[in-house]
Structures are given as C-alpha cells and as structure tokens.
Amino acid sequence: MPVPETVLVKEKAFAKKKIPIAHKQTRRQQQYFFITAGILFVICFMQIDLSFTQFQAGMARIPSVLEMMMQLSFAELPELASEMVVSLVTAFLSLVLSILFAVVLSFLAARNTTPNKYFGMLLRFLFMIIRAIPATVWVLIAVASIGFGTMAGVLGLIFPTLSYLVKSFSAQIEEVGQETIEALQSVGATWWHIVFRGLIPTLLTSFLAITAFRFEMNVAESVILGMVGAGGIGLLIQGYISFYDFSSLSLGIIMVFITMFTLEFMTNQIRRRMSH
C-alpha cells in the first residue's frame, strides 16, 4: 500500500522518542490523585507516632486474648435474644418511617425532578447537615424529649437513616436520566404522574437494594446505639465489655454475627429476586 509521506516523516520522529499512548487528561488526573494521596499519606503517617515495640507486644498478646474470647457461656442467652429483637425492631421501624419521608423528599431534592432548583439545593444542604450530626446526638435529643425506651432509639435513628436514604435515592433518580421523564412529559403528564407512574416503577429495584443495604447498616447502628442508652443488644454488649465478662461477650458477638449474616443473606436473596 502507498504509505503517505507524513507517516514516513513521523516514523523517523518515532525512532527517537517514545510514543505516549495514554489519554493525557485521564492519565494526568490519575497521577494527581495518586500522587496527592501518596504525599498526604506520607506526611500524615509521619505525624502519628506508632511504636514498633507496642505493636510487637500487642501481637504477642493476641493468643491470650483469643483464649479469653474462646470462653462461652449461655447463661445470658434469653436476655441477649430478647434484646437482639429490640435492636432489630428499632432498626426496622426507623427504616420504615424513614422510607415514607425519603421517597417524597428525594424526588424534591434530586436535581432532575425538583420542582424548584433552589428548593432542591436547600434540601440537599439540609440533609447534608443532618448527615453530619452523629447518631449519638440524635439519640440524646430523642431520649431527652420522649423519654427512655425503644421509641427513643427509633426516633434517634430516623434522622441518619432519612438523610442516607434521601442522598442515595436522589442519586439514583438523577441517574435514570432524562429519558423516562421526557417520555411522560411528552404525553402531558403531571409531576405526580412522572414520579409515581414513571420513576418509581423504574427505580423500585434500586430503591429496594438501597433500603436492604441500609437495613443492615441500621441494625449495626442500633446495636451501637444501645451503647448510648437507646436499649437493645448494644446495652448488654457494652456491659459485658466494661466488666470484661468475656464468656457472655463471646455469645453476644456470635449472636450479632449470626443475625447480621442471616440478614445479609436474606437481603441478597431479595435483591437477586427483584432484579430480574
């Protein structure tokens, strides 16, 4: 084949220099990210003092700690089981209540479905603040205002749950893109039609997946919340820890683990069934 002259000229140039192959911008950004991360890591790592002897001594202590953890006593089983139920219920109820609000709020907050640009922005900012407030603060306020008991845990969990759901839901809504919305706009549908007839059916699976994921997180969180006074298994576990009651602690850990594992398995099943 006839080789164009330009190619021949270039070929000579190639001989001297290595030919770059990557997409420049992508590569540069990649380099920025990793170099920045690397430098930050090195600087920060030098700031924290870690002693190797402490590490060594700790590693040497692991067998004996494991040995302590190996003890198992079933004395506390009934109590652990009933408090586990409390934690599960707390997680479940706060999730259910959050979903009710989250579905509407996320459509108001998502960039492509918000009725008003500034209102959406305000809503997103508000939820970011709510997200920044730790669950412990919410529980404190909840206990203080409605008193002790599971309901306080539910109320305290609603806020972090709601803000998480709104964030994830609206990200999903923004991702479905314009196509679905346009289809219904073009038949003269209202905002409500678009949301309920178009977007919710389309997004149902991903909403459910997010919800399932969040349920796991909520159970984990409600376990921790027990530790700040909202009842549930966390309260017991906290007690075992502070009195180094290893045999009951191990049982508690096993119980939480089995519950969480079962939940993860179940939500995966649901997700798989929904997604086809």
């Binding site: 302590m68 409605i146 008193g147 309260l235």
Partner: protein, 285 residues
Amino acid sequence: GCGTSSSSGSAKQSKFVIAYLPQETDEQMQKTYSNFEKELSEKIGMDVEAYQANSYNAAIEAMKNNKADMAMFGPFSYIVAEERAGAELIANLSNPALEGQAPSVIVVPKDSTIQSLADLKGKTIGFADPVSTTGHLLPKSTIVKELNMDVEELESKFFKSVQFAGGHDKALIGVVRGQYDAAGVSAMIPAMLEEKGVIEKDSYRVIAESEPIPVGAPFAVRGGLDQETKDKITEFLLSYDDSNYFKAILGTEDAKFVEANDSDYDELRDIAEMLNLSPEQLLEN
C-alpha cells in the same frame, strides 16, 4: 414506653419512670429488678418502669423534661442533675463495705521510677472520663491538694499532657501497656481487671489514694413531683431491704438505703469548683 406525660407535676400521672445510671464502682452490670418495681408501684399507685441508662446526660435531660421521675445517679452526675434538672435527693444507696475506703487511686507501672505525686512532673497522665467522679474529679483534686497548685497550672505546666482514655479500664490499661505514665482511676478497677486476666498480676503500683467522701449512690427524684409521692418513695426506700435488689443493682447484698442530705455533696461541689467543673460553670452556656 415513653416516659410520663409531659405536663409537669399537677396533672395526674399514671406512669413512674426510674433510670439507673452506670456506677463507677460496680463490679457487674446493673440489672433491673421487677420485684422492686412492683412493690414501689403498689406503694405509690402508679405503674413503674425501670430503664438502664447508659448516657448520663440523656438521663438528666430526660428528667428535666419530665420524662424520668427517679434516677440512681453517681455522685457527680447528681450534683449536675440537681443544677440542670432540679433533681431532689431522697436517699443514698450505700455500701458499708466501701465506707471509709479510698474511692480512687493513682497508679503507675510496676517498675516506674515515679514514687510520689511530685514525680509526675513532665509526665503523661490518663483519666477515665472528664465527668467521672472517681476517675477524674477525685484523683485530680488529690493531686491538686497534694501539690498545692491550681488546676490550670497543673494541666498546662506540670503535666506533659492530660489524656482521657474513655473509661477506668482503658486508663489503667494505658498505664500497664505504657502509653500513660500514670492514671487516676476508681479504686475498684485494678483488682477487677487483674481478676479478669486483662492485665497481668502486679503490673501496677498505687502511689496515691484519694480521701474518702461520705457518699454512696444518690437516688433523686424529679423536683416537680408532688410532695406526697416524694414522701412515700422516701419511706419506701428507707425501709426496703430485699438483698436481691441490692445484688442486682450494685452487685453486693450488703448495701442499704440511708437517709441523705443534699449538703452531703457540698464537699464534692467544692472539688468540682476547684477543678472548674462545677455545675454552675458547666451549665452557664
């Protein structure tokens, strides 16, 4: 259960809520004891619900909002509750075995060169928690008194740094594992951790003890409660002698309720003031 109705005092309330705050001297977890609740319920003619509260400020806030009617506090949390929530002391649950014993100790590692409090100069000290009576207030006041320094000087000049470990056990572990040069903790803790095998036997040494304070676990009620109920409860508590209850609540059968007076806590208030932790100072903002 969501506490009592929010209308204060005067309205007829049908539910009586007790909150138990964790005690620093316990050796085991509190358990609520239903017999106690039943008997109290008969006495005052209201349903009684009891909760373990893990967070002491939540309990105090709940009492402030009429969501808790009685609570078993720790000494420091009581004086704060008195200021913040208008809690009224009605009895002390005291453990005779502990009477006259030092409530807190200051410990150093076994082979440390530190022999006295004065040797702590330029060292790192760990406490349990800023609001802990025996894990912060008492040991720190001991140091202040012994060295005759004011707190600011102590914190900024004398020590290299003052740390809060987040618990008596952690403060002690911090000493034994070498992160702190010394720690002030409840006197009960070292023996317990030794017994549980968390720290090695004889791995620490006590260099100072704080003076006993004449207080137990204060039981206080919400100020807005009507006088009749308050009296009934006081009467009920002082005559209560079910050892199972004491075992459940404090882990020892030998405890008993004794009459208490708010002025018993003045000494602690002085200490708190000295350490800039008096309730008035805390609550001004």
